[in-house]
């Protein structure tokens, strides 16, 4: 990876504190090896309780039926679909970081890719449970898959809802395997550091698939990693495009627009990076990883939030322009109703959080401030949830038939289920941060100055180095 580096000696180092290879291992692994701190137990317990609440809500729904949610004609899609799109969208940042930024040799990704990928997987899990229960008769969920059966009945391949099953299913499996592949060398490190004969050593040995760190292992690993990156890259664009087809392929004013796929993808990356920031700003502090996840990393993510947030803002305005330009009164009404109808409060919450908030990152002071990043990332999360709410509910509640127009409100079960999904997300994330390395240790080592094959030429082979050394120009392919 480092032999195709774009990070030159002119740039500030990616890792602060001038660590050795071993320091990186120590910094990251220590959190998996020592006893959990009280804050971990506190967070984990709260998340576990919320997860139990989520399970209870779903059991209650399973027993009583979908009526326990606020969904009713004409608003058949409500919080369940909103939450699904919200969670799937969040996942996209992880894939962008792990695949696209990898192919573009953005070495700063190594500090954040592991936890971002974990976030992706957990977010997709949270997403998938909503449509699984939305279908109503959950014991018939196998109808979603093309399984040979005595009825000779197959899913409707012309339905975007089926494409969605495949898109999100592929996304989940690919992300999981990609994440696991990247974890193997690091799990092997944990295995080698574990006490001989301990259960921990056995589990880690099992999970590291016999990784020995040989040249052959690394060769296979790098090839596999590149292939997975190439496979995942189209998914960054395709998955949320297909999710947007759930809406765009229908005939409903406000949904039936060609701008949806790019607009959804931009929104997904926007919300995903915000969630990465929400997770990593506290995590770097709690785990003392300030040297690896530096303010420069956070700033780069904030710039991506600014760019994608501006795309989303542009899309909001284009929707209004196209509605007006179409000259179709129903199309115009759908959008005027969004901004000034009964759900005006949702629209302007969305607009403020998604359009105004990211623009604050034009100020260097704000985008290099941890506090500002954390606070603004929460606003973006809120805004992106409201975006899905606005799209889903405002288009539906003004049906084709004015006599069926209605105002949708969630029930308490809707609200508790949504809160519970955050519980599940953090439950999984707490387990992850406790038992697996939250930083891709092997990859961070590759971007240390010492990993450069020419490092010791520049530094007279003494093994010690300073960043103030004379700038050298590396050949583009060494």
């Amino acid at each position: 990876m480092s032999n195709l580096a774009t990070h030159t000696s002119y740039d500030p180092p990616l890792v602060d504190g001038n660590p050795s290879f071993h320091d990186i291992t120590e910094w990251v692994s220590v959190h998996n090896e020592r006893k959990a701190k009280p804050y971990w137990w506190a967070g984990f317990s709260i998340a576990a309780m919320l997860t139990i609440m989520l399970v209870t809500c779903f059991l209650y729904l399973f027993w009583n039926g979908i009526g326990v949610w606020g969904n009713n004609n004409p608003v058949g899609w409500a919080w369940d679909i909103v939450n699904f799109v919200f969670w799937v969208g969040i996942g996209h940042a992880g894939t962008l970081i792990s695949a696209v930024l990898f192919l573009f040799r953005q070495e700063w990704r190594t500090a954040i890719n592991r936890s971002a990928e974990a976030m992706t997987i957990f977010a997709v899990i949270c997403a998938l449970i909503f449509p699984a229960f939305h279908i109503g008769r959950q014991w018939m969920a196998y109808y979603l898959f093309p399984i040979p059966g005595q009825m000779g009945m197959w899913p409707n391949f012309r339905s975007p809802l089926l494409w969605d099953v495949f898109a999100v299913g592929t996304y989940f499996t690919t992300s999981l395997i990609f994440w696991y592949t990247g974890l193997i060398p690091d799990i092997a490190t944990l295995r080698d550091r574990a006490k001989l004969g301990s259960l921990r050593q056995k589990v880690m040995a099992f999970l590291s698939l016999g990784w020995s760190g040989s040249m052959k292992n690394w060769l296979h690993y790098e090839k596999a990693y590149t292939i997975f990156a190439a496979l995942s890259t189209p998914l960054v664009l395709s998955v949320h495009s297909v999710v947007s087809f759930d809406f765009a392929v229908s005939q409903l004013p406000g949904w039936h627009t060609t701008i949806f796929p790019p607009y959804f993808v931009a929104g997904a990356i926007f919300s995903g990076f915000a969630m990465v920031a929400t997770l990593l700003v506290p995590l770097r502090k709690l785990y003392n990883l300030e040297n690896i996840i530096t303010i420069r990393h956070i700033e780069k993510m904030n710039i991506i939030i600014l760019v994608t947030g501006s795309m989303v803002g542009f899309a909001y305005m284009m929707e209004f322009f196209v509605a007006w330009y179409s000259g179709v009164q129903y199309e115009i009404y759908a959008f005027v109703n969004r901004a000034f109808g009964q759900y005006w409060w949702a629209y302007w919450t969305m607009f403020t959080c998604n359009v105004v908030t990211p623009q604050l990152f034009w100020f260097k002071k704000l985008r290099t401030s941890m506090t500002a990043t954390f606070v603004l990332s929460i606003f973006v999360n809120i805004g992106m949830w409201f975006e899905r709410f606005v799209i889903t509910v405002t288009s539906l509640h003004r049906d084709f038939l004015p006599s069926s127009w209605d105002y949708y409100s969630p029930t308490i079960i809707d609200i508790l289920t949504f809160i519970g999904s955050f519980g599940l997300f953090f439950f999984l994330f707490f387990i992850f941060m406790r038992h697996l390395p939250v930083i891709a240790v092997a990859e961070v080592k590759m971007i240390l100055p010492q990993a450069d094959p020419h490092f010791y030429e520049d530094h007279a082979g003494d093994g010690h180095h300073t960043h103030e050394s004379a700038p050298t120009v590396k050949p583009s392919h060494s």
Binding site: G149, M151, G152
Partner: protein
């Protein structure tokens, strides 16, 4: 460092992969056969209150199906005969047979014989016999009794030979030319085994001319 696992465990990923895939395929095959009517329903041959032999009546004696199941061309249900139908002959033929005692009892008391239904469809699926056996607008083509019920003329005890599953219905609705026969031969047994070679081509011609398109939409049967 000593290895945590023995050398044999090197084969574990391969075994898990192949085994997992094999298990998945096995499960799909197992469920698609053993959970389907091909396994659960075919061969159902309940004991009837009277040991009536189709093999003898329809086979050896060559009685037409419609002598007893008289309503098949006019209604949704191919009715079971009333006791009177049996007694048309059996007040003369074997009037003292012990086997026929329940029939005579039914005749005397007026209480119907409780035949056990063999070919059952779920209540949410409608099948209309008259539509299938009548030529009507179908250009002289119809579905023979035998196509769904099998060689009843060879059955001592009637049993179900076809799965009557939805995919089985749809198979004929999608490619009717393979199963239709001239309407005058609907009750002929053994026709399917000795179909004229050109029957399918002839059927296709009629199907095309008459625009015969058996419905495959949900509400064709589920209404």
């Amino acid at each position: 460092m000593a290895q945590v696992f023995s050398k044999a465990s090197n084969r574990l990923p391969l075994i898990a992969l192949v085994g997992g895939l094999g298990f998945l395929l096995f499960t799909i095959w197992f469920i698609s056969y053993y959970f389907s009517p091909k396994y659960t329903d075919v061969g159902y041959a309940p004991k009837q209150p009277v040991p009536y032999s189709h093999q003898f009546h329809a086979g050896e004696l060559g009685m037409d199906c419609r002598y007893c199941h008289s309503n098949v061309e006019n209604g949704a249900i191919a009715n079971l005969p009333a006791t009177q139908t049996c007694m048309n002959c059996h007040n003369q033929v074997k009037p003292e047979s012990v086997k026929l005692l329940p029939v005579r009892e039914s005749w005397a008391s007026g209480k119907p014989i409780e035949w056990v239904k063999v070919h059952m469809l779920p209540e949410y699926a409608h099948f209309n016999h008259s539509v299938h056996v009548n030529a009507g607008s179908k250009g002289g083509l119809a579905v023979g009794c035998e196509t769904c019920h099998g060689r009843v003329d060879e059955m001592e005890v009637v049993s179900q030979v076809q799965p009557l599953s939805m995919s089985w219905c749809l198979e004929c609705h999608a490619t009717p030319e393979k199963y239709l026969r001239p309407a005058e031969l609907i009750t002929k047994m053994g026709y399917d085994q000795s179909r004229p070679a050109d029957q399918e081509a002839k059927n296709l011609e009629v199907i095309k001319k008459k625009g015969i398109a058996p419905p495959t939409n949900c509400s064709a049967c589920h209404y």
